[in-house]
Amino acid sequence: MEQLKQELKEALIEALNLEDITPDEIEDGAPLFGAQGLGLDSIDALEIILLLERRYGIRIENPSEGKAIFYSVDTLTAYIEANRKP
């Protein structure tokens, strides 16, 4: 689980061009979206959908499903653990 979180943070930084941010600075439970969190938006949500599909074979058809899943690194890893294709 910890390894997945680290890997996910690195992947997010790369996919979303999060300059100036290191994996350590992304808190597991903190919101990724909105001003309180990393400031991600709807375009980033689409990038995360692709990231899940490419790396973990998980398909999300409707972007609105993503809202709860993408809340934080914690919720994302839990979803990947539960749905990833071996």
Binding site: A15, L16, L18, E19, G39, D41, I43, L46, E47
Partner: protein, 296 residues
Amino acid sequence: MTRQPPVYINSAASIHPPLDGVGECLPGKCLTAVEPDYKRLIPDATLRRRMSRIVRMGVAAGQACLQDAAGVSPEAILTATGMGCLADTEKFMNSLLDGDEERLTPTAFIQSTFNTVGAQLALLNGNQSYNTTYVHRTFSFESALLDALLLIREREAVDVLAGAMDEQTPTLYTVLQRLGCWKRAMAGEGAAFFLLSGRRTDGTLAILQDVELFSGDYGEQAIRERMERFLLAHDAAGARTLYPADYKRFCGEYPTAASFALWYACRELREAEGKRPVLVYNAFLDAHSFILLKPV
């Protein structure tokens, strides 16, 4: 001719190839703009992280122009680009071809839109005013300039931010080389923005007198005659003319090179002693334009 209220250029900012570089035309050479510290000019990391090089150049030049005219919130943001966001266009095209239309990321597509710089400038400054983008080859920047002039003359706007940007990419360079463009010219690029206003300030650089665009098969003599008529009509017979060779030796050839020329002319006007009007003459293939500046 009815007397028009004057339109002032109150600030100007440009990102361009080094002025102390070659300084002469070396055909085939590719000039690269000197880029500033973007973190200072575009502090919003959330917006900055998605910006490609041309978008950064354009947005940074726009921001620098606004910073020089502190406190002004323009009633229009007009942008111009001849070729648009080529690197993002190519990036999305490549991912489309590589991935055979599957799993495409939207960011490059969104950023490839011609009005990206204008939109980002609006977002960064919370500017909700008129915002449009001209994309007509050599006339892109001149169209934006003309729109700005008319907006101010009509009093639809007091302050207008108008600017242009074009980037050189390896693909563009190669395609234009195959088309024979670099036999006599250097490839260039750049971004330049201007704050035009109906209000004179302490920082006013020049008066933007008029813009004229024309196209067709004009010989040197015909151009000179047209130029004389234009200057006479504007009571500027003694103007010094900046010919394409005078400024393209610094900025190179690109569709919106006239924006660099205008920045260069503003600088000359401010520094020159004699205070003569300056006529910027731009030409590419059969497209010609005059931009007339007068000292304040």
